[in-house]
Point group: C2
Chain length 408, copies 2
């Protein structure tokens, strides 16, 4: 039998991250590659209690088909939580999704035709590129000055169906835009008529001080805003949400119905029991302490071991360091050696929609204890130093790869 594939299926590429994660599952490898949260930080006891309560009080409701919009009390909780952050959100605008990855899939389905333009940061979240890719959009890289996309870039993006932005502890770069840039970007987007799709899975994971309010707080009906319980509770429950302008909501809801009918009601009720019971009041501070300690350990290890010419900015939240190696190095080509030596990371190139910077890498500190972080970074640094030395030995006639714009 000859199966004829859809054109979009020809574009579906194996996830580089997933393939590397498999590589890094070898015993003994210290993985700085994952996008996983720390499993030892999962609130297991609280999940046990919440699950037992759901199965004692509303077992048949939890196990039955449910509304595509999501579990009402959870939608109310999300809306209230966002109103406390300055967003004018009603529960009727909250759509519960099967992880916020599904939110991206639905946004693409509802807003993108083949050939539509999506404006993105460089680098940006690989999973979003993958979620939008089946709609066959055209990517437009927003001009960036290091502090974020330039507000002027929004005018250049006029006509794009939306700008996909992660202003808060971005995956992969860890970057957090300041309040002034957020205001300027939101205003420029509104001026240019460019809708914003704001992805914010890491906002609650701040280590030093809370991030500024989301772009959506200023952009209002000009923004779809996505969030998740994956990083603050547990990703294995697959419960996320999006907030949509009233005009868009019915279309996203219909796309959701067609995609999986609804997110498991069982899981939504467990999440609601957890958050409504006030778990986050104690759980989040503990989580922030744990991650802050690891962030500090990784920062110290990078400073101690990486050779000069490497650049990074310690993130003020989230899970990732973004490291720029000296120009001429290709992080991907170092990966097999690194894994052989017992440490894994994610090369930066796949996070670029165009003109990748091969001398970048994403390092996660989330799942690794401080002493292992020190060991992993030391191992990685040795490989980088070796590569720098080899590159320095290369005759001048062999030019480094082109296209190496300075990292902001």
């Amino acid at each position: 039998m000859t199966w004829t594939l859809a054109r979009r299926a020809e574009r579906l590429e194996p996830s580089a991250i997933r393939e590397i994660l498999k590589l890094a599952e070898r015993p003994g490898v210290i993985s700085l590659a994952g996008g996983l949260p720390a499993a030892e930080g999962f609130p297991v006891e609280a999940v046990r209690d919440a699950t037992a309560r759901v199965l004692a009080e509303t077992p048949r409701e939890a196990l039955q088909y449910a509304a595509s919009e999501g579990f009402g009390p959870l939608r109310e909780w999300v809306a209230g939580h966002l109103r406390a952050q300055g967003l004018g959100v009603e529960a009727g605008q909250v759509l519960i999704t099967t992880g916020s990855q599904q939110g991206l899939d639905l946004v693409g389905k509802v807003l993108l035709d083949a050939g539509s333009t999506v404006a993105v940061e460089t680098p940006t979240y690989l999973g979003a590129l993958q979620a939008f890719a089946p709609c066959e959009p055209r990517w437009l890289a927003l001009d960036d000055d290091g502090a974020g996309p330039r507000p002027q870039a929004m005018a250049a993006a006029r006509g794009a169906r939306f700008a996909y932005l992660l202003p808060t502890f971005q995956n992969p770069s860890g970057r957090c835009l300041d309040a002034a840039r957020r205001h300027a970007l939101a205003d420029a987007a509104l001026d240019a008529g460019v809708a914003i799709v704001e992805d914010d899975p890491y906002g609650a994971l701040w280590f030093d001080d809370p991030p500024p309010p989301p772009l959506a707080a200023r952009a209002g009906d000009g923004a779809v805003y996505l969030g998740s319980f994956s990083k603050v509770l547990a990703p294995g429950l697959r419960v996320g949400w999006l907030v949509a302008p009233k005009r868009l909501f019915p279309k996203l809801l219909q796309a959701k119905q067609a995609a999986d009918l609804h997110t498991p009601g069982f899981n939504q009720r467990i999440v609601h029991a957890l958050v409504a019971g006030g778990l986050l009041d104690t759980h989040l501070p503990a989580l922030r302490r744990r991650y802050r300690e690891r962030r500090d350990a990784m920062h110290a290890a990078l400073a101690r071991h990486l050779p000069s010419g490497c650049r990074w900015t310690p993130p003020r939240g989230g899970m990732f360091f973004w490291v720029e190696l000296p120009a001429g190095l290709d992080a991907a080509s170092l990966l097999p050696r690194a894994v052989d030596a017992g440490v894994a990371f994610v090369p930066g190139a796949p996070f670029f929609c165009e003109t990748p910077q091969p001398n970048t890498m994403r390092l996660s500190f989330a799942t690794v204890a401080p002493d292992r972080l020190e060991q992993g970074v030391a191992t990685l640094a040795a490989i980088v130093r070796d590569a720098v030395a080899t590159t320095a030995d290369t005759p001048r006639g062999v030019a480094p790869p082109p296209q190496m714009p300075a990292l902001g």
Copy 2:
């Protein structure tokens, strides 16, 4: 802000079933409209035990991100279960999905371009039409002789990306194709080079004798086969699966990654604990007895109350009766009166991709106890009799709506 919608989003229509379900949620309404399984049949105690075991033995694994393919032991179980039914399936061909609705979404994404042809039965599952619609396919109704799509119709469907078929206790018609028709259809599809997408959520819910082997058992690599735990365990867990030929599997897997990363690992482990523990050996016979009793009650009530000129065949499994009213009646126009009188059903028209038969309705017996079925059918029958009388009074000059092919 003006949001520009994708062309496909303009095609997304509110789900008629969902809207009617809302209507039927009014207290006091006997709903024959739902597609829900009987909640009193959920194995609540077993779910409690399985959940407790998962959270005791592998809590952090269950709550962490997991492989997009699905939980290995569950994939193995599904493959073994299918091999026992005569399908040559390896675990590596099993993709766990967030309900089998997601399987349909993924199949569409991987196989359908705008304008691609999908061959379907008439009527067919509304949720599949909705899942495929965002890909903007062209529908081709397979010619049908009442015993199923005619094998010759496969030649007429040559060039279609696939034929979407529900040979076993179809939603909405309840029809089950016999073994000879299955063989002939599978062979004709292979001859014509038409791939088969076989949807089988109800196969285990037989009341009289087991259905013949799936089409996929004969079509082999010419078929994708979809199943679900929603009807045999509980839909609120949202765990389904599909089996794909090896050539297609990687593309479906990539589409799955992009859609929601993975189906909740927590839920997959609960389902695995349930089925691997042998629950279905006792649970399925009890479920079949419950549904058989209701099927019998609805059949008796229909025979007792419906006026002459109404036609139906009692289903040998699944959850639905498909009733053809006398020509000239429009089931949709009876619905508001029925709901006012305290009974809800689903009009048949939305289940047709073209040329709907307005004089059809789908009645579910799954969630209603026998005495209430009797009462609901009696109420519905009174409205039908009234409509028949009114139609008979209509002067001959007012013709009934056109396009009333005989129901097979």
